[in-house]
Symmetry: C2
Subunit: 460 residues, 2 copies
């Protein structure tokens, strides 16, 4: 069957709006780093049954399929690898089918945009706690397929922890109905876990039931300057202990990062501190009810300073203060500009071993590439470090990968904390996982997608 | 090979302490309901490598294996079904290998008893939040294999949410090393999820990395009497909203349950209320830091009473008060005595649909069995209802199952909230899950255990 004939079959089954022909699809964004779609058709199903129809038609024609959400991933998870790829976008599947305040669940189609769901929940005094920079384009289906993390994992968990039910179209066109709507559920193997975080290689997420929570009334943010990086685990432990579960962000910035953002002749952002601290932390607590959260935070920080754990602290008095603190942490645009060409890593390391890991990595990189530069920051309380390196060339990339990953693996961390594997980290994954573990991943792929039709070449 | 020869091989490989011969093993407890071990050998490995050796020896001899933890499960998950079963107990694998306060993780062998881990964590000002009545015997391996829930799921999640890393011996003797120690981890398919909640049918859990949290300083408990069951979702929403995440228990008791515990000529437990409320709730909050939790709770309850949502409330002023409240909820011994012979169910239903479900079930059961009696209670905030029925006979069991499950399924709940499937609920599972879903569960079982050697006949 020619591609044109196949397109006609899809149109016959699903309507004319269900296909964007290759010439019109070419150039669509496939990643925030600038990757663009080659001239391949983009299928646009309106519902689950159309997804199933498309999968069957493409399978019979020997095509493969890349599921497409908001295209905000960072590991080349959508780039073609086999040359037979068509794309299947969930952009017409944007319905919030139900938002149930009493049962605290939302039932959504896969294409619903994160921010849309956040705002719909907020209008009913509820919280959907996953949040990340790409909230305006990332889709729920994509967030599930990549098990997204973001800024509040410490308190609310990753995307996996929000999903109560799932509907998945499998490689043979079967619609798997796992749309349960309850938190406690031990009715057989928990099959939805297979698809969460499998990056579209085992099935296509079409609908989901996600958990909502009552909204929190207020947040309080503070910027901390540390005397000594060795204090970090103790500092975090004391803050968490004192706040009893209210802590929702604890973002560590090494001085290289903080000074890049706040230093120089014309600083991008204002620092409330004299320079010279060992590290900086942006922390935030979120609470409700009759508590003076601000007083509580100030008392806590006073005590920590008295104990020598803080060199300084600045508490946000207004929303503008808070936004200014977060802009230091989130000015990734400036980071990319200052560090390009850059190599970026997203790794996890146990808290107690983090500062040692970073120090060791700095030395190793400086020894090998004397003119290189590293900046480090991350969601420390959930183990996640972002490491950005300038200096090593493209040909040095594998050697740099090996340096970054070796220290992660020896500390039983993760070579990919929240971004996933895609095409970019496949080599790293094979080095990080023992052969038996890789073999089981591959066996699952063969079981669920024997023709390697779904997002081929990714992850395994 | 005869059984005696096989035992000699195990002893040669793993030492004389590694086998309890059939005559000595006979009569061991297999369930809190009184099931006992038939005359089968119990293997007692001291470490992972011995588990792998035993699995290979038994596989070659055509035996099957039932992994044995604390034997506190409630769904006949350990009873023999094929007649070829030997048992493998983790009772010699009770080492807490590491308890890391800075990184908030514990690395444990599968046989560690829940209470031992709880207490070890508490000694270092930390919390392992899974808790249930069988804490003194349930093992971490068993809790993982059954994805245990318990009393604090609302706030801290189920066992699945505590597991960061896992070591599993598979049916071919392979040791799968998934012992990562970090919260954020998207390095390929999350294989540990396959084994959590699979009841020992896909692999044998030998070691685990679990997440710990800083301990909470205090709890406050209250007993509430409701005017109207229709208020339940609103009441829960307002309490959760006001407490901003501090709520850690919200146990609903229908009057039949509460009056069984507190009524009669010689009441087992004292009720602080006049009788006649629509339902009763035992709630608890846990907090740390400079907050007057007691005042906060009292203010909240005053407001709810003013709004007509409460008929009465009693706040625990002492530990003895709190214990007395919990004894009403947890006097399962009295419940069993009063209701035997009984049929017990552990189901999940969305919060908004719960009271309707219970009312409908009551009517249906009373119509069919006019002299029956039902009591209902549960961890309502995480959807979990326990339903206990007296009246229908053993021959009525399937008809009763069908009634209980039909209303659960139509509401997209779960026929097994926290107890699992075992042998007891296999028929229910097949009715609750579509054929495609059951087929995928069975395909996973064939992939991971092609000879049906691990806990045969359970779940799928």
């Amino acid at each position: 069957m020619t591609d044109d004939e196949l397109i006609r079959h899809v149109v016959a089954g699903c309507g004319v709006a269900s296909v964007v022909p290759p010439a019109d699809a070419e150039g669509r964004s496939l990643s925030p780093f600038g990757a663009r779609l080659h001239a391949a058709p983009v299928l646009r199903p309106a519902n689950t049954s159309q997804v199933a129809t498309m999968v069957r038609l493409l399978r019979d024609a020997g095509k493969s399929l890349v599921p497409l959400g908001g295209a905000t991933g960072l590991v080349a998870g959508l780039l073609p690898s086999s040359g037979t790829e068509w794309y299947l976008s969930t952009e017409r599947m944007r319905k919030i089918e139900r938002l149930d305040r009493e049962s605290r669940v939302a039932v959504v189609q896969a294409g619903v945009v994160l921010q849309t769901l956040q705002e719909a929940a907020a209008r009913q005094d509820m919280l959907f706690p996953i949040d990340l920079g790409a909230r305006g384009s990332a889709s729920i289906g994509g967030l599930i397929a990549t098990n997204a993390g973001g800024e509040r994992v410490l308190r609310f968990g990753m995307m996996r922890d929000q999903v109560l039910g799932l509907e998945v179209v499998m490689a043979d066109g079967t619609v798997l109905d796992l749309m349960d709507q309850v938190v406690k559920n031990n009715a057989g193997y928990d099959l939805k876990q297979l698809f969460i975080g499998s990056e579209g290689t085992l099935g296509i997420v079409t609908r989901a039931v996600v958990r909502l929570r009552p909204a929190l009334e207020r947040n309080e943010a503070a910027l901390l300057a540390l005397n000594d990086l060795d204090d970090l685990p103790n500092l975090l432990f004391r803050i968490e202990s004192a706040l009893g579960g209210s802590l929702s962000a604890f973002e560590l910035m090494w001085p290289d990062f903080f000074e890049l953002m706040t230093g120089g002749e014309i600083p991008r952002h204002r620092s409330p501190f004299e320079s010279g601290a060992a590290a900086y932390v942006l922390m935030e607590l979120e609470e409700s009810g009759a508590i003076d959260s601000s007083e509580r935070l100030i008392d806590l920080l006073d005590g920590l300073a008295t104990n020598g754990l803080l060199r300084g602290a600045a508490v946000a008095r207004t929303h503008a203060d808070r936004d200014a603190f977060w802009r230091i942490r989130n000015d990734i645009e400036h980071l990319i500009k200052a560090m390009s060409p850059l190599h970026a890593y997203d790794v996890s390391v146990p808290i107690a071993l983090m500062t040692g890991y970073v120090a060791e990595l700095r030395t190793a990189v400086a020894t090998r590439w004397p003119h290189s530069r590293i900046v480090v920051f991350g969601h420390v309380a959930d183990n996640n470090l972002h490491v950005v390196v300038n200096g090593p060339t493209e040909t040095d990339k594998e050697a740099l990968d090996d340096l970054v990953y070796a220290g992660v693996m020896s500390r039983r961390g993760s070579i990919s904390a929240e971004h996933g594997i895609g095409l970019d980290k496949r080599r790293g994954l094979r080095a990080a996982r023992p052969p038996d573990v890789m073999a089981l991943m591959q066996a699952l792929k063969r079981l669920l997608d024997p023709r390697d039709m779904l997002n081929p070449g990714k992850v395994v």
